[in-house]
Subunit: 361 residues, 2 copies
DNA sequence: CTGAAAGCGCTAACAA
DNA sequence: TTGTTAGCGCTTTCAG
């Protein structure tokens, strides 16, 4: 890097002025700017000197008007209040996406969807012609936004499962993750394993329940309705559904579909006079940092959020730049069981498989 | 709202086509688009009908080329790893900013600064001509980015204290917050109050230390060097500095400049055989959600992060739209003491003053 | 009240 | 290898 563009003249130069200063035409300057071969070395140097001296930067807006591309990616995240305050999911995802953008010379535009102004923001996003493509995170199953984006042919990558043909997606392996959780409980001797599910409007909720069931089946344990309580990922539901479970069934293991719910579930268990993990062993999901803290006997399933972000961004960029054939990609990243209890303090990694990449048409 | 723009033709229409369809000139369409008065009602209706029917949206890029404005705000956040994973600060701030943007028909562009690619991102931001103005959060004292932005005359609002003349800022009242903390400790009978500071490269670190000192002075207690340990907001430093404090002084109260550090401080205290809060009462800062959890005897000082975000955005937008005189504003929002200990479970609000707004030239 | 024409800053044929 | 010309989609004088 040449010793930091010092002595830069802070101005709003245009290509015209550069051309004048260099004594060439605007096209020539443009050629230099775009590394066109058809410029003599002499001219190139002359022009480049002026460009450096003035600190000239071509207007991205003018460029976009011609190219039809802005080099801007959009990120849409629904902000469910509960998760916002506890969960670094969004921060970490954004970090992954942001670094992939930087790497590829893209910038990132952000929409946080608050439930009450959903419609307005949707219109805003849909009519926004400033972005080249969009990453949509954790949308509800059958969300109208996705449909409309598809109609508009917006290049799209979904973070989380998505069944729309033609839409790429990046997801954690929620099914396998939940299976890991159940099997862990089985491995420490639990046989009566209950669950508190997430929202059934989210694939993460649906898939974690599916994984729970499959884990039971593969362990030759029965699936009992009375051991399934339907939460919605909020702390409150974790508490209430635990009370409900306690009322209607007996269990010595509990798989909770999110750490946030798991915290309040543990609280409810303790209030009911049960010891965790002695009487009921609990496994959560997400590995939120509060769990890493002292005295919380919570084993959990971790998803590679940052990686999901960067892969999503990279997938979208590849798609935009046609680096790959325009087939949709379904990428599923492995989860990791993090064992954290009184007896064992350190995290135990268990990568069960290399990244799975499926390609569909 | 007319029954949701149904039957919209999903196309990339231009003003030219609308003009042709409506049988008028492009100028007239433009006038309708911009609510110009000089259009007959008849024509207006005719044109508007076509616009609605086609779902036409004018290209923001073309508009920007003319107006020189993009209606895009930038947000720059340094991503210190430690805070990223524990701290919802960024999420909440972004939420506040985002909602103000939506309200004003702006969109938000995001840069997360990872320490290792700082220089590259700075150049990226500085040369980005896509944004009308920038919100910079928690930058280090004397950060080169701010200087360079000022040179470039980028409209700017700082989240956090900033002394540059001409730069508006929105900050929590860290000084008063720390005073609240100290006075609380005094009020519960502590007289030997130590502190673990934040990073001295951040105003939040500096100001919280200043508030600690002022709190002692106003309580007629001595300021002792041996009771001050310099941390850097990371969990690790909280732990180490507590050990250090324990080695060099005796204290029955501890003000820690962030909850993140406070957690590990408590751990260190407990490992040293001290009871919290009986032997040492601890007050943190930030009110991070993990603190809200069971069994953590941590009183803390809360800052109105979301509000800071929305006010920052609104201030910037006002500045851009010249709604106010172009004087810089320094806005300082009050903090709130949140008492949370074994004896008292519910949060106790203590608004000490209405918003303070200072205006400087 | 409406249309024709010029131009925002840049790129991309097409000539020279 | 270079300059000239047109035009991306829109707004904005300036005539009419």
């Amino acid at each position: 890097m040449p010793k930091e563009n010092a002595g830069k003249i802070t101005s709003m130069t245009t290509i015209k002025e550069i051309a004048k200063l260099a004594g060439v035409s605007r096209s020539t300057v443009s050629r230099v700017l775009n590394n066109d071969e058809n410029v003599s070395d002499q001219t190139r140097v002359k022009v480049q000197t002026i460009i450096n001296k003035t600190g000239y930067q071509p207007s991205p807006v003018a460029r976009s008007l011609i190219s039809g591309r802005t080099h801007v990616l959009g990120l849409v995240v629904p902000m469910i209040v509960s998760s916002l305050f506890r969960d670094p999911f969004f921060s970490i995802l954004a970090q992954g996406i942001s670094s992939a953008c930087t790497l590829n010379n893209y910038t990132l535009m952000l929409w946080l969807i608050e439930p009450h102004s959903e419609q307005r923001i949707y219109d805003n996003i849909l009519n926004n012609r400033l972005i080249d493509g969009l990453i949509v995170s954790s949308s509800k199953i059958g969300d109208r936004l996705i449909e409309r984006l598809i109609e508009k042919k917006t290049p799209l990558v979904q973070v989380g499962r998505n069944d729309c043909p033609g839409v790429s997606s990046v997801d954690a392996d929620n099914i396998h993750g939940a299976m890991q959780a159940v099997k862990h409980l089985v491995s420490i001797g639990r046989r009566q394993i209950a669950t508190i599910t997430g929202q059934m409007e989210l694939y993460s909720g649906v898939d974690r329940l599916a994984g729970y069931k499959r884990g039971l089946v593969e362990s030759s344990l029965p699936i009992l309705d009375e051991r399934i309580a339907f939460g919605n990922f909020t702390e409150e539901s974790g508490y209430n559904q635990t009370k409900l479970l306690l009322a209607k069934s007996k269990f010595d293991g509990l798989f909770v579909a999110s750490d946030t719910m798991a915290f309040s579930a543990i609280q409810a268990l303790q209030e009911a006079g049960l010891r965790v993990p002695e009487d009921v062993a609990v496994v959560g999901f997400d590995d939120i940092p509060a769990a890493a803290h002292n005295h919380i006997p919570l084993t959990t399933v971790r998803q590679p959020i940052q990686k999901m972000g960067s892969i999503a961004a990279q997938t979208l960029i590849d798609q935009l730049e046609q680096k790959d054939t325009s087939t949709a990609r379904r990428i599923i990243l492995p989860t990791e069981l993090v064992i954290r209890d009184s007896t064992k303090k350190s995290a135990f990694s268990n990568h069960y498989a290399p990244d799975q990449v499926q390609t569909t048409t």
